[in-house]
Subunit: 111 residues, 2 copies
DNA sequence: TAGATTCATCGTATAAAAACGATAAAATAA
DNA sequence: TTATTTTATCGTTTTTATACGATGAATCTA
């Protein structure tokens, strides 16, 4: 009965929603900030600065990776992560498109 | 055990995450588009163009309202909704700040 | 080789989100 | 006044998200 009907919305809206979902938890925003600041870093460094268990951080990293916002590379026993700027720019563009699209029709005479 | 630790992140990240969460479902993005296009409209008009039940649409409207992205006014037996442009602009600004903040530190030499 | 590090994944528990039908409240229309 | 319209809310079900500890695989170090 509670089957998500995401597929019944248009592609564009699904893509944007997926991006927004990736940013919908403060831990994931914090992770992006850390990655931007350090340029690249391993999972353990992120765990150090977040109030979350290692397994939880790893899960958040996976979600960011699934959303294509970050890249990960195995380096020996470690995993090195960094922001995927190309995808990031594309998403930023999509967002600006939505904002501009909405603003284009702005009309302050509403209820 | 799964108690959300949202409060342990900084205010700024929480605000952004809450905004992103409001946009994290295609139905809510679609609703914003309809509102922008029609400038204002009642719940029933939105229900007509979405593949969701009235109660579900009402729920999504409530979430957008809780996030302060839209305003609602009772008009007799109907509810008229429209975009809250002030809050919307503020959120857009916050998002751009995040994007710019991250981009400022961009350095393509990563793993 | 043996022990230590690092991290992804599994299992599990709890909370939140998503969806619907039914219903009640409010206002309009007959 | 009675019936109709409109929509928010309640109750419920299903799915997804969040969080943690434990474990195993991979690599490094002693």
């Amino acid at each position: 009965m509670a089957s998500p009907k995401l597929n019944e919305f248009i592609e564009d809206e699904q893509v944007l929603a997926a991006f927004a979902k990736a940013l919908s938890h403060p831990a994931r925003i914090a992770i992006l900030k850390v990655l931007a600041q350090k340029n690249e870093c391993i999972c353990g460094e992120i765990v150090e600065v977040l109030p979350l268990a290692q397994s939880t951080v790893s899960q958040h990293l996976k979600e960011l990776k699934d959303a294509d916002l970050i890249k990960g590379a195995v380096e020996g026993p470690r995993s090195c992560y960094c922001i995927n700027w190309d995808a990031f720019d594309a998403f930023n563009l999509s967002f600006n498109h939505l904002f501009n699209h909405l603003k284009d029709q702005q009309n302050n005479t509403c209820c």
